[in-house]
């Protein structure tokens, strides 16, 4: 144990302690600050979208067009009664005709109030997500002409925006990850160059390329973890601030973006993931570069 620790210290001393180390840590702090923000955006959006989906899954609208006003009312009552008996249905409500007329007035004028006008019947049904098929079947038994819609349609632009935001966030994380691997590659090349004499001597003493790669890997992993931890903490503080402000908006869509503990854990794992990524990029760069020598 003691022996190992002493050896690790010597391994790092082999490369000296340069300024480059701080530059790398600084870059990694920025990279992880941005990544954690993008990651939090993605996770929050996913949470929000999940909330909407769960809500919408059970929201159905049954629509019936019937020219004859009295037949329409009879059918409507029968539909409400039949739908209320379907297992899993928690709420059935016919949309208020006056409300509908008010909605239509801009297009139809006062003619919309004419009771003879074939106004459609709209019935809102709240059911458990699995019950949609039974609701549709029950509606058609009473009124074969009835149409059953998931009422997701009116929310779909919001839902679509959230989906886009989610993929933008994922893309951002991937782009920053690629940039991080690129930085690691450049730093590894610069390291091979700066420490060429040391590495030559190590090779002459029988070091393998893997041993040399490990020296640079360890240094880059350390810088990435150090800088990355700082960047991550700063970003998480900002995310936490946003979370409290989102909760205060009272909006269902925005409030739904609250991160769960598992999300916070994922964000905390990002610097570790990036350190691994930088390590692998370094290793591949070193092995590839050295492999072309004598």
């Amino acid at each position: 144990m003691n022996g190992y620790r002493r050896r690790a210290a010597i391994d790092l001393r082999l490369l000296g302690e340069g300024q480059r180390s701080w530059v790398m840590a600084g870059i990694m702090a920025i990279m992880l600050f941005l990544t954690v923000l993008a990651g939090a955006l993605g996770l929050g959006v996913a949470r929000s979208a999940g909330g909407i989906d769960r809500q919408l899954a059970g929201q159905l609208t049954v629509q019936l067009v019937e020219a004859d006003a009295s037949a329409r009312d009879v059918r409507a009552r029968a539909l409400v009664a039949a739908l209320g008996r379907v297992p899993g249905v928690t709420r059935v409500r016919e949309a208020d005709r006056a409300e509908l007329a008010a909605l239509l007035r801009p297009w139809l004028g006062d003619a919309g109030l004419d009771p003879d006008l074939p106004m459609p019947v709209l019935i809102d049904v709240t059911a458990s997500p699995g019950a949609a098929a039974q609701v549709a079947a029950a509606a058609r038994r009473v009124a074969p002409a009835a149409r059953v819609d998931g009422s997701a349609r009116w929310l779909s632009p919001v839902r679509g925006l959230l989906a886009t935001l989610f993929w933008v966030a994922i893309a951002l994380v991937l782009v920053i990850a690629a940039a991080t691997a690129g930085v690691a590659l450049l730093v590894a090349r610069a390291g091979l160059d700066t420490h060429r004499d040391t590495i030559d001597v190590l090779h002459m003493l029988g070091s393998t390329d893997l041993q040399v790669a490990r020296l640079l890997q360890r240094r880059i992993a350390r810088d990435t973890l150090l800088g990355g931890a700082l960047g991550t903490l700063a970003a998480l503080a900002l995310v936490a601030l946003f979370q409290t402000r989102l909760a205060l908006t009272g909006s269902e869509v925005l409030g739904g973006a609250t991160l769960a503990p598992v999300d916070w854990t994922l964000l905390l794992l990002l610097p570790i993931g990036f350190a691994l990524l930088a390590t692998v990029a370094t290793r591949m760069t070193v092995l590839h570069t050295l492999g072309r020598k004598l």
Binding site: G3, L14, M204
Partner: protein
Amino acid sequence: MGNIVHFENVGLRYGTGPETLSDVSFTLTAGGFYFLTGASGAGKTSLLKLLYLAQRPTRGAVRLFGEDAGSLPRARLPGFRRRIGVVFQDFRLLPQLSAYDNVALPLRVAGVRESEIEAPVLEMLAWVGLSARVTAKPPTLSGGEQQRIAIARAVIARPEILVADEPTGNVDPDMADRLLHLFEALNRLGTTIVVATHDMHLIGRIPRAQLMRVEKGRLVDPSGLLRHPPGAA
């Protein structure tokens, strides 16, 4: 004893320049003691570089430990290099490490446990008279002190071949004798020794040693005093 090194019609060219070494053929026997002499620029260091696998021959064959060194895949070089100790003409100590860590480096590279490193390193530093400078970094040491650290580093891992390029160039005659004594002791333990030197006094100290002389990139027979090429077939 078997042949440990065999050169056959070896040529070496740096880049597109003229041949630095031409038609070099010789055989070294395991356990032998060899001196390599020649004027400055004749090609001694170049020949040794082929021997310790810092260069590959541009033509001819270099056989080491019974294998063709010219075609060794890169992955096998470390294993071969660990069997060869080298005192570089320019020492090539790592300035950022202490004398102790410089000498310990070959053992650490070979994966020796830390608990088994301290005693031999301190013993070796004592042997070359540097017990008082264990923690000193090479830039703070004199040329002769650096050379002794380079020698300690070359022999610490008990190599099968010790290659020393002008190992006594910077030390006084007493220390030179002492270092030669160290080489002799290692030689008696079975290590094959190859020393490049201008120092005729040094060469005279080991009568049983064989002598190789390089002139303008070719091995020549030095007139009668010692044999050349040693053991040539």
